[in-house]
Amino acid sequence: MLKVKIKVDNLNVYYGNKQVIKDVNMNVSDHEILSIIGPSKSGKSTLLHVINRLIDNVPGAKVTGQVCIDGKNIYLDSVNVNDLRKKVGIIFATPVPLPMSIFNNLAYGPRLHGITNREKLLDIAENCLRASSLWDEVKSRLDMSALRLSGGQQQRLCLARALTVEPEIILFDEPCSGLDPISTSKVESTMRELKKNYTLILITNNTKQAARVSDRTAFFLFGELIEIGETKRLFTAPKDKRTKDYITGKFG
């Protein structure tokens, strides 16, 4: 068994009086890709926001239970949220390129953490763009506005930008929902590459995508974790009837 990277214990999340995550227990191993599938409103995105504590910014949200990364509870008062978020990168469903040049998008994160040397920033930018398979497409026009890239390129730029602050975990919140099949397959192959160095959690509405890229898959329904297991096994022989109904398209 691989080393446990993220451990979630008895996690409950409430928005006001409404409970959106119900008593979830799960582990994520080092260097694996875990897919989370399930219909909308089943708490998938909320789970990601819990893992990097972006949920702190949601008015009225309450979290109980434990989330540990590398054995340390990230909800202790002594945890520095900014350091945590540096360690846990996130990619949103809609690519959010900042309204500046490609280079400045990539330099943005390191600059937040005090790196100003241009040589070094260029180095980081090149490495991260290579890692997200975007380097060859943009290497000659790093000064171009990032807004002029295509949707798929923008998403890979956001991925590269997340990599610039050297995270260990990357959360993907339906990263391909707005992309065409070719861009999608590029993002997917990039994810498989990234697996070597990072732990990835991928939320997707596309069960086929989960089957293609992930090692393990978790199925969420109305805030409950219904089933989690090897992707191959979960898709061929689901233990729970609800999982079977969902992946065969009977609902959702």
Binding site: N82, R85, V96, P99, H113
Partner: protein
């Protein structure tokens, strides 16, 4: 009547409204420039006021206007932008923020003479600044605050939430998200508010008569009294000292405001292109 006919009437009516507005505006500006510009010369701009304004130039009023506008912006802009950032980024919408916003809107509707009276009682007498550039600027600043706060707030709110999340996601703090992305992105909108209120400061009379006084001399410090162009214009026109000099001053005032507006528009345009 068929819809097509009504449509025709509507477009004629709307077009007329636009033409009337535009021609009134153009008429005023051209009339003042026509009356005033012949008297404007290098001498008019650079020499002191003589005979209470009957002859001489308007140099002291140009300097006073510049001081008042500059100082009041320096006071009002940081306070206003700071308040706007606090209201939008550092608090959640609740009763307190709604009360603050409501009172700000009320302040914007108060006649300037009331601000003048307040400035006179508080800055001039209670704090002992006397009739001075400082008292005038502080009064102008309180008048500008509502506009600056509300326009800055709108501009900050218009910055997409995603930009902040990107900053947090990369491990940036709230302050970093404000300074690195929110304020730069909101800058054109904030600048618009500042320019608008600067126009108000430059053209203000009532509040300034009470607070900055009407001295004919060039102010030498923030505690000197001084009359702005608008006050000068008001005085010499009302007291019938010299209508021609009054029009000359008005022409300079209009040209000044146009220069401020056009140059800030160009600046903004250049900035937005660079940033997009």
């Amino acid at each position: 009547m068929n819809p097509k006919f009504i449509q025709k009437i509507a477009s004629v009516a709307l077009g007329t409204a636009m033409l009337v507005t535009l021609s009134v505006l153009i008429f005023i500006i051209f009339y003042i420039l026509y009356q005033g510009l012949p008297i404007v010369s290098m001498e008019f701009l650079t020499t002191p006021i003589r005979d209470m304004g009957k002859s001489g130039g308007i140099f002291p009023t140009i300097i006073s206007t510049f001081y008042l506008a500059f100082l009041s912006i320096c006071i009002a802009a940081p306070l206003g932008i700071g308040t706007a950032v606090f209201l939008t980024e550092y608090t959640r919408e609740n009763t307190v923020t709604r009360v603050i916003r409501f009172t700000t809107d009320c302040l914007a509707g108060i006649p300037s003479i009331i601000f003048g009276l307040f400035g006179f009682v508080f800055f001039v007498i209670y704090l002992g600044f006397g009739w001075s550039i400082l008292a005038g600027s502080l009064t102008l600043a309180t008048m500008m605050l509502p506009t600056i706060i509300r326009t800055s707030e709108e501009a900050i709110r218009a910055v997409p939430e995603g930009f902040r999340e990107v900053t947090y996601g990369l491990g940036g703090s709230k302050w970093q998200s404000v300074t690195e992305i929110v304020l730069p992105k909101a800058f054109p909108g904030i600048l618009t508010g500042i320019i608008l209120s600067m126009g108000r400061a430059v053209s203000e009379t009532a509040a300034l008569i009470f607070t900055a006084g009407m001295s004919l001399h060039t102010p030498v410090s923030v505690l000197s009294s001084g009359r702005s162009m608008a006050v000068h214009f008001y005085t010499i026109a009302r007291e019938g000292i010299s209508l021609q000099m009054a029009f000359g001053t008005a022409a300079v005032l209009i040209v000044t405001i146009s220069i401020i507006n056009i140059s800030s528009y160009l600046l903004m345009h250049k900035y937005m292109r660079k940033y997009a």
